[in-house]
Amino acid sequence: MTKIRCKTSKEIGGMGHSMKRKEDARFIQGKGNYVDDVKLPGMLYMDIVRSPYAYAKIKNINSEEALKVPGVVAVVTGRDLEKYNLHWMPTLMSDTQMVLPTDTVMYQAQEVAAVIATSRYAARDGKEAVMVDYEPMKPVIDAHKSLDADAPILRPDKEGKTDNHIWHWEAGDKEATDKVFNEADVVVKQDMYIPRIHVASIETCGCVANYNKVDNHLTMYMTTQAPHAIRTVIALVAGHVGLTEEKIRVISPDIGGGFGGKVPVYPGYVIAIAVSFLTGAPIKWIEDRTENLQADSFARDYHINVEMAGTKDGKIQATRFKVLADHGYTDASANPSKFPTGLFSIGTGSYDYNNAFMEADAVYTNKPPGGVAYRCSFRVTEAVHAIERITDRFAMEVGKDPAQLRMENFIKKEDFPWKSPTGWEYDSGDYHAGLKLAMDTVGYDDLRKEQLEKRAKGEWMGIGISTFTEIVGAGPSKDFDILGIKMFDSAEIRVHPTGKAIARFGTKSQGQGHETTYAQIVAEELGIPAEHIQVEEGDTDTAPYGLGTYASRSTPTAGAAAAMAARKLREKAKKIAAYLLEVSEEDLEWEPGKFFVKGAPEKVKTIQEIVFASYTNHPPGMEAGFEATHYYDPPNLTFPSGAYICVVDIDPETADIKVRRFVAIDDCGHIINPMIVQGQVHGGLTQGIAPAMYEELIYDEDGNILNGTLMDYLVPTAVESPNWETGHTITPSPHHPIGAKGVGESPTVGAPPAIANAIVDAVSHLGIKHLDIPITPFKLFKKLKEVGAIS
């Protein structure tokens, strides 16, 4: 196993050092600058009237009383926006979405009208006074019924639409896979539902749109994970009213958690821009929590049928996946364009077999649109849950220990790069080492003994494993784009004469610690101390173009760009050093922070001296200055992996479930900052236990959300969240400049099946083979009742 490597001194603080975060100073002193902290002169406030119905005709909107409320300046409806052709907008998946409706509302909490006022309080009072006359219609809520012959056609606005089907998608070889299934000894099947959930970042979404009429310029402060892409989208939507791209500046200030929920463009942003455009005043819109939970993009909501075929002695031979995807009223996913199911096809897992077939159909329903890649590289969470659950089902069926079965089926270390049955080339991995470390850490064999002893006494404990392969770092330009824009990312490094630098990126941190880790990458490559490298992101006027931060792509793309830009500068430094030392470049050797003459280490130029020379004494014929930019187009995705083991105890009387231990071994390649990587894993694990045991957006048959506040949408506290035990193996990515892979979402992806597997394992002796997440004590109780295991 490779150790975390530190090639630089602690003073330089390159890769491998647990450097304390540079951004923390402002956050711990209340000096962060989040969007609701932005205050501009003359600013007006917007509040949004929302639909109480899931599906209804709007017969009338009466603003009269609202306009009488002191402080209310205007009430804006879809009819008002229609005059400027701003009442519709494209989604990232080339579907369309209402900004404000002109005649029909399609989901509960949909935006219906906007109230503009001189204060937050007046806007709220105005909203209360807007009278909307609705004619409710019977909505389509159950995805399974959306294609029924008698289901209403929800999108007659889309030309030629005769049903609620959005798209069909396939991957793998159907014929060959079916053949293996037909001939297999053992086939296990499972229907499972990956519930609709919400990112519920503690900061909601919001913006301050500031259109300046005099110079026809829009500054948009907004909670966005992808400021550059947003600028382009605004230009595409509003170009026809004169807002062309050079006149738009998107500033993404500090973001209070994103997790994919701050990738899409929500109607509120567009309304704020339109109103600022029309009034010339800055418009602030900040969602409250109910709006955030009820209207912003959901995640998941995949109904999956998964099957595994194999031999009696436990060799996996093939898998089949069939998905029904509920997208709500419009396909507002945040996927790369060519991937309607995102990277779901990673679902063949960490196992060595050659046949798989996957298909998916997406449908419209009268629920909020989505779904976003919630801390997930586009539907990987759904795929991993399916494969890791069905692997356990298969192990149970053939009577093998799930750890042993996995060990016997893993792709071997020496077989990488490995071509998956759905066409991915896994870059690297060492799955056996990961699982072994996890088993040793948790004490697997002893736990199995304890489980048997406990069962004999009527006590229930379970051990659950998940050994997942992730796919992140979207992505190579041959396959990956969003609205046509290739999914590269960028870095620009400018070193000042005194050897201190500013580095700018096309990504945008929402808590991942970019200001520290990017500085460490540059420090690693140039030897300039990380503390002297200022990292800046989020301002489209200053940062190089990039696609933003989501899907664990920052390190694989912008992190690589940082290394590549720094290497360009090191090349330049070498030339300058050769000039200064009057030797040829070949005679020079590099060690972090300096070039010296081979065999004569006293003849040395530090990076600081070299940079200074680039401004004061640069070689003839060379461009002055010390600055480089790189747009990194990854040759492949990266494939982080993990081995997670969860131990649960279940109260046989109440069905209460307690996570006793959780060991997470992650392999994200070379580690930039162990402290931050570990922190990412901790956080992702809590976001993994959340859907596994607590969270789900629940709708009744009329489309009313039943848990649209944090009173009932159960975000885990420090009490539900166990003490996470973490560790790592290191299998560097062979194609990434610094061998890193990305880590942020691995734990969110890997934890739910480990927990579900543990709970099922605890009660498997009672004949229970599967439970859908979230597995609550109530749900488990009902199942135990059903099998007669609880009186």
Binding site: D656, M711, V719, P777
Partner: protein
């Protein structure tokens, strides 16, 4: 989320508060800890025209041992109850229950009187007060009257407190003999309202015979509920495991839970059975 507008008074005496209540009638609401009322106002489920803030009235917040009983001022904060060694020493049930009410910040504001006066069967103190056989002091223009806890809760969010009255205190009798108490609720996560909760106080004589049994149930009935049949089964008995199991079964039969996101009727009855049994045992174990 922002409440609708209202007028606000913060009287510094009880008399002043009562005359404001008299003046504003139904339009007025009493503001105690505010952690039920203000969220409802922010969601605009409640829009009182006048708030009478009783936080500035001295003497409403106190925990006093008075001979055979403890007296709690209505404005005693949950956190004061939680940290009162005298009270949690005499009644460990208060340590159990306060830990499970919302969270520390809410407990710094929330008051024991407000928890009762809200009349919500989902709140925890109603069941506790039933188990302890407390009585409630209500002050109005005519003076102070005392109402037994069984006569306090009337219906859905309705209590014996009349629109011109204020709940001012709670009196908890000390039972004789060896006395123990315990509370637990099943909750979806910490700070949640109970899926089902059970409060128990048991007293035994020198021979181990049960001389007192109080059992209150949380959130499994439209109004806070006493498990009367269970109590009767225990009093006079020797508290055998079998009898305790029977008493627990009776509680689960007698409650009337309704299905919601927390669970269905069957599950809640089941929880009442299990938790009642466990809390009786725990109360007995703690008896001293």
């Amino acid at each position: 989320m922002i409440p609708a507008n209202f007028d606000y008074s913060a009287p510094s005496t009880l008399d002043e508060a009562l005359s404001l209540l008299q003046e504003h009638g139904d339009e007025a609401k009493i503001l105690a800890g505010g952690h039920s009322l203000i969220p409802m106002m922010k969601l605009r489920f409640a829009s009182p025209a006048h708030l009478i803030d009783i936080n500035n009235i001295p003497d409403l917040s106190s925990i006093k041992e008075e001979g055979d009983s403890f007296h709690l001022g209505a404005m005693t904060r949950e956190s004061d109850v939680e940290h009162s060694e005298a009270l949690t020493g005499a009644f460990p049930i208060f340590a159990d229950v306060t830990k499970l009410i919302a969270d520390p910040q809410v407990r710094n504001m929330g008051t024991i009187g407000g928890n009762l006066a809200h009349g919500d069967a989902a709140n925890d103190h109603p069941a506790v007060m039933m188990a302890l056989n407390a009585s409630v002091e209500i002050t109005g223009p005519e003076g102070t009257r005392t109402v037994g806890i069984d006569e306090f809760f009337f219906g859905f969010y309705m209590t014996a407190v009349q629109p011109n009255e204020i709940l001012t205190g709670i009196s908890i009798p000390k039972q004789r003999g060896k006395v123990g108490s315990a509370y637990h609720k099943a909750e979806r996560k910490v700070g949640d309202y109970a899926t089902a909760g059970v409060a128990v106080q048991i007293a035994t004589d020198a021979d181990g015979k049960c001389t007192y049994a109080g059992i209150g149930l949380t959130n499994v009935n439209a109004v806070p509920m006493r498990a009367k049949r269970s109590e009767e089964a225990l009093v006079g008995s020797d508290l055998s495991d079998e009898l305790i199991a029977q008493a627990a079964m009776m509680a689960s039969e007698d409650c009337n839970p309704s299905a919601d996101l927390r669970g269905d009727e069957e599950y809640k009855r089941h929880l009442v059975k299990v938790i009642t049994k466990r809390m009786i045992h725990k109360a007995i174990q703690r008896a001293k």
